[in-house]
């Protein structure tokens, strides 16, 4: 691609020495361009590579197809998969119904999740609600758990006799069978996902709300606006970009989510796009899987495009300047306590209840018998006992658990560090080069991983990195590939945090330094990194969290050597060892929450809440 470095005015001959040195001079003075080019080159391989793979596999014959086209040559070009998915007799089952289900779930979760998140954000940031500190810390906990934890807890609570086996808690305590629509399918999927993904709305909106200067609203009041006018004409436009991002991020994420729909949908055969992709991949029919994945990708791109058309132009308000800033708390008056109680109740149900259920599950001696008599710590600390769980020891004595724990932490930390650095560099290049083609490409490519369904990205990475690739050795089955894919998948977030962090730093600050002849590295070290550190730390913490609780992205890449805790949970759950899986899940949540607390203490506040500016 060409950079639009075309200079205006009197040009020396193209290849003349003065022209070249002029361009070198220009380039050296635009570090963001060098940086941008470098980042773009690396990301293109890691991000566009998979995209090529997806499109390629969707458009060539696979060995699976030979049952239908015995004469076909594997690997030759065909529209066969497109026909199968879009027009064939399978289309309804494979494409239309899952599409409808996915979109329905996506829309409902987005409305519910962003609604809850924004409401909470407003209460926490702008009002005088009580216990803000505790609430703020608790409100992001659901996001720290693997998203399917809620689904597991839901099943423990609401399962009915349709799937037999143990009784759910409701049945066990009250003797009634919840109806199928409560136990499985659309309704619980929406609830569980909304209670997990409201974090996007919450974090983005509290960020946006925190930067709305009350002076702007007061200025409106002085200009004679009433409350509603101020809300509509000052506050709302300032919040619109964050709201737009929250809607887009949530909706796209829901389209690609796999764990919860798989757990809660399967018993009533409620299939979504992601579960169909997984099923096709499992059948080694990657052609169909990747056509479906492409549909998701196209939908995501369309959605992002609409969002950027509608509100994109106003995206870059500079709200952090060297000037004064003040925010006034809205007094809730008589509503202060009811609001506080409502938020407390909500957090108890979404945060404490699922954890309590898992804890209980991990302590009962016989799954499904929730009496206080049958409690035991065996599944946590017990040694192997042939009478319990086939002699499987408690998780503390389980041989693989320490490796998995170490791998999980290593993965989280490595990914966080890589993502933090990469995010900051991408952010710098993209913001300082704003308006140039390079910056737009870079932003686009860095965001692209977001639109890949995790499960499909994992499948492609196996293919891409199972052979030596340029300077890279074959990475299949190694720990490195886990780090690589995690970094790539989290890049959309960290590059956003990077961009947001740099955006807030008024260019004039750096220009001042530049006038004094301070070089780029020192400017980075003395101005950019310190000023952006809260945003970047938050981005790194987010990466740590998503990396440690990720499953669908890496499930295909795990092996005993690079096993992580989520993989252990998955395997315990597959083997129906509910106590073990409950115990490891809690353990994992404790690690993640602990890391968050640690970062909060070390950085003096912030933590995940520092994400407000993404």
């Amino acid at each position: 691609m060409s950079l639009d470095t075309a200079s205006s005015g009197s040009k020396p001959p193209v290849l003349s020495r003065s022209n070249l040195s002029y361009h070198v001079y220009r380039l050296v003075n635009q570090p963001e361009k060098i940086l941008g080019l470098l980042c773009l080159a690396v990301l293109s391989v890691l991000v566009l590579g998979p995209l090529f793979e997806i499109i390629h596999d969707a458009l060539v014959y696979q060995s699976y197809d030979l049952a239908y086209r015995p004469e076909a040559k594997v690997g030759s070009f065909t529209l066969f998969h497109l026909e199968r998915v879009f027009t064939g007799p399978l289309s309804k089952a494979l494409f239309l119904k899952p599409l409808f289900n996915s979109v329905a779930v996506g829309v409902c979760v987005t409305v519910l999740g962003v609604g809850i998140g924004s409401g909470l954000a407003w209460l926490m940031v702008r009002t005088n609600i009580r216990f803000k500190g505790v609430f703020g810390a608790l409100a992001v906990v659901p996001y720290m758990m693997p998203s399917w934890v809620l689904a597991l807890a839901w099943l423990s609570l609401f399962k009915n006799d349709r799937i037999g086996g143990n009784e759910g808690m409701i049945t066990s305590f009250f003797g009634v069978q919840p109806p199928d629509w409560v136990s499985y399918g659309f309704f619980p999927i929406v609830i569980c996902l909304a209670l997990h993904y409201y974090a996007y709305g919450f974090l983005l909106m509290s960020g946006a709300l925190a930067t709305v200067d009350s002076e702007l609203e007061e200025a409106g009041a002085i200009a004679g606006m009433n409350r509603r006018q101020r809300l509509w004409r000052i506050t709302f436009p300032l919040l619109l970009p964050a709201l737009g991002s929250a809607v887009v991020l949530t909706f796209i994420r829901i389209l690609g989510t796999f764990g919860t729909p798989a757990l809660l949908g399967l018993p009533v055969r409620f299939f979504t796009f992601s579960t169909q992709i997984y099923a096709s991949l499992n059948a080694r029919n990657s052609g169909d899987a990747f056509v479906l994945a492409l549909v998701l990708i196209v939908m995501a791109i369309t959605f992002i495009w609409i969002n950027s058309r509608v509100i994109g132009i106003r995206k870059s308000f500079v709200t952090l300047t060297g000037k004064g800033f003040r925010q006034r708390e809205i007094k809730l008056g008589a509503w202060q306590w009811p609001a506080t109680i409502a938020v407390a109740a909500f957090l108890v149900v979404t945060v404490l209840l699922p954890m309590l259920i898992l804890l209980w599950e991990s302590l009962v001696i016989t799954p499904g018998e929730y009496s206080l008599k049958g409690l035991t710590a065996h599944f946590w600390i017990g040694k192997s006992d042939i009478d319990i769980a086939n002699g499987e020891p408690g998780i503390w004595h389980s041989p693989g658990i320490l490796t998995a724990l170490w791998n999980t932490i290593k993965l989280g930390v490595l990914a966080a560090v890589c993502n933090g650095m990469l995010g900051l560099l991408v952010g710098y290049a993209a913001v300082r080069g704003r308006g140039t083609l390079l910056a737009r490409w870079l932003e686009g490519v860095a965001f692209a991983p977001y639109i890949f369904p995790s499960i499909a990205l994992g499948a492609i990475y196996i293919g891409m990195f199972s052979t030596p690739w340029g300077p890279l050795p074959a990475l299949y089955g190694t720990f490195t590939i886990l780090v690589l894919i995690t970094v790539v998948k989290n890049l959309p977030f960290t590059s956003r945090t990077g961009i947001a962090a740099i955006l807030q730093i008024d260019k004039s600050l750096e220009e001042t330094a530049r006038v004094q002849g301070i070089g780029w590295f020192r400017r980075m070290a003395k101005i950019i990194i310190p000023m952006s550190s809260s945003g970047v730390t938050a981005g790194m913490l987010l990466t740590f969290i998503t990396a440690t609780r990720e499953l669908s992205l890496i499930i295909l890449l795990l092996s005993p050597a690079n096993m992580v805790l989520t993989g252990v949970i998955f395997s315990y759950n597959e083997h129906d060892m509910t106590q073990h899986s409950g115990a490891v899940t809690l353990f994992l949540v404790m690690i993640i929450v602990g890391a968050n607390v640690l970062v909060r203490m070390l950085t003096g506040g912030g933590g995940l809440a520092g994400l407000r500016h993404t």
């Binding site: 309804k92 006799d161 799937i163 037999g164 042939i386 074959a474 597959e574």
Partner: protein
């Protein structure tokens, strides 16, 4: 953004056409030279003659490790007992499930990564046609076991165990008589939402069970006639009575499970009012002992109660530890001292029983049979021979597998 998209798609389209001519998989029946060299060095395939077991044992100890890709988690229980006999050889088990055992082996070998020594998994169609016939696996039978294993159990590929899909029901819920006499009863309103099974799209053994019933449409039609007293009327878009059975079962609100353990519990857990009938792996009957379930095998049912499928064991192409693999293969088949008169007692994986059974110990239950003809029956094992059974056909699996998956996708969609 719009510009990005336009440009992206232009680049993509260009790259696409370049790429679409690159890939090509060749179905070579003759081993490539590097594999030929390996076969020769490892004395496998055409070079597998005049076996010297002491030499193999010595070489295996020098190799020091054997890596097993398996569909069965129970192989992991053999790591410690094997280490007692051969402390020099470390067993690394990758419990991958049937689908991923095949997937991982193929992907790695395509990338010239040769990690696996032994691949032991079901999924007949793929294992025979996509792996054995394409030089991804080598059949190996320890010579001193050959006359103890009937030919059909070691040719074209050594069968490690034969297992079966059966219908399990809760004997507490049906104390007097089995719930059904004919499989077609399960498609009737009485059993609406009361039959469960694993998803055949993700479980190889379940797919084999489904396809083994489909394979014999005439007998399924005859069974229907016997049950209903009239010939079967096929639904729209359904080709024969075999397919019709599954289509009707799905239409009767079949409950799909992800995990076999949960399925076994669903039907077998005691104290349930209205438990499911499970189409499950027969080996789960062993959970009656280990987990206190009340499962019972539906032994007498028209037209068939037992759908047999093999689990193979083979040495992977260019295995890094071929001699250790040979040693472990022999271990999996059980000791040579084991014979019809051996006295075995529960728990089979302890003491003298373990010493005799070796690799068979974790599989010594009524739902699993050894390929050997000289192995005694486990407690309750008589039921295997009492039941009528159909066996899966690898060729049918291979040719029809994708179509059956499609059939399932269409009919399981609500």
């Amino acid at each position: 953004m719009k510009q990005i998209i336009t440009r992206l798609s232009a680049v993509l389209m260009a790259a696409l056409f370049a790429l679409s001519f690159v890939t090509a998989a060749s179905a070579a029946s003759k081993p490539p030279p590097e594999m030929e060299a390996w076969l020769k060095a490892a004395k496998l395939g055409p070079y597998d003659k005049d076996e010297n077991w002491d030499e193999i044992t010595a070489k295996a100890k020098a190799e020091g490790e054997v890596v097993v890709y398996t569909s069965s988690g129970r192989i992991a229980k053999l790591v410690k007992p094997f280490a007692k006999i051969h402390p020099e050889i470390k067993v690394t088990v990758h419990d991958l499930g049937s689908v991923k055992s095949v997937e991982k082996t193929i992907r790695e070998q395509n990338a010239n990564i040769f990690n696996a020594d032994i691949v032991t998994t079901g999924n007949s169609g793929q294992v025979i046609y996509e792996m054995l016939n394409k030089n991804r696996l080598v059949n190996y039978v320890p010579h001193h076991y050959k006359d103890r294993i009937p030919k059909e159990n070691r040719d074209p590929l050594l069968i490690r165990v034969n297992e079966a899909m059966v219908f399990l029901y809760n004997r507490e819920a049906y104390p007097d008589a089995p719930p059904i006499k004919n499989v077609w009863e399960l498609t009737e309103p009485k059993f609406k939402g009361r039959v469960g099974m694993k998803n055949p799209l993700s479980s190889g053994s379940t797919l084999m069970g489904v396809m083994t019933l489909m394979q014999r449409p005439d007998e399924m039609a005859a069974a229907y006639q016997r049950h209903a007293g009239k010939p079967i009327k096929l639904s729209k878009g359904v080709a024969d009575a075999g397919q019709e059975f599954w289509a009707r079962l799905l239409a009767n609100d079949l409950v799909i499970f992800k995990s076999g353990s949960k399925l076994a519990r669903a039907s077998g857990k005691k104290g349930q009012k209205n438990p499911l009938i499970a189409f499950a792996n027969m080996t789960y009957i062993a959970r009656n002992d280990s987990k206190g379930y009340a499962n019972k095998i539906l032994a007498k049912v028209d037209p068939v109660g037992k759908l047999v499928y093999p689990t193979f064991s083979a040495i992977a192409r260019q295995a890094p530890h071929p001699n250790a693999a040979k040693l472990f293969t022999a271990y999996l088949l059980g000791s040579l001292e084991l014979n019809k008169d051996s006295k075995l007692a529960k728990p089979y994986d302890k003491g003298a029983s373990m010493t005799l059974l070796q690799g068979l110990a974790p599989y010594f239950d009524p739902g699993t049979v050894s390929p050997r003809s000289d192995v005694p029956l486990p407690a309750g094992g008589e039921i295997w021979d009492e039941m009528t059974g159909w066996t899966v056909d690898a060729g049918y699996m291979w040719k029809q597998g994708p179509k059956v998956r499609d059939f399932w996708t269409v009919h399981s969609s609500k």
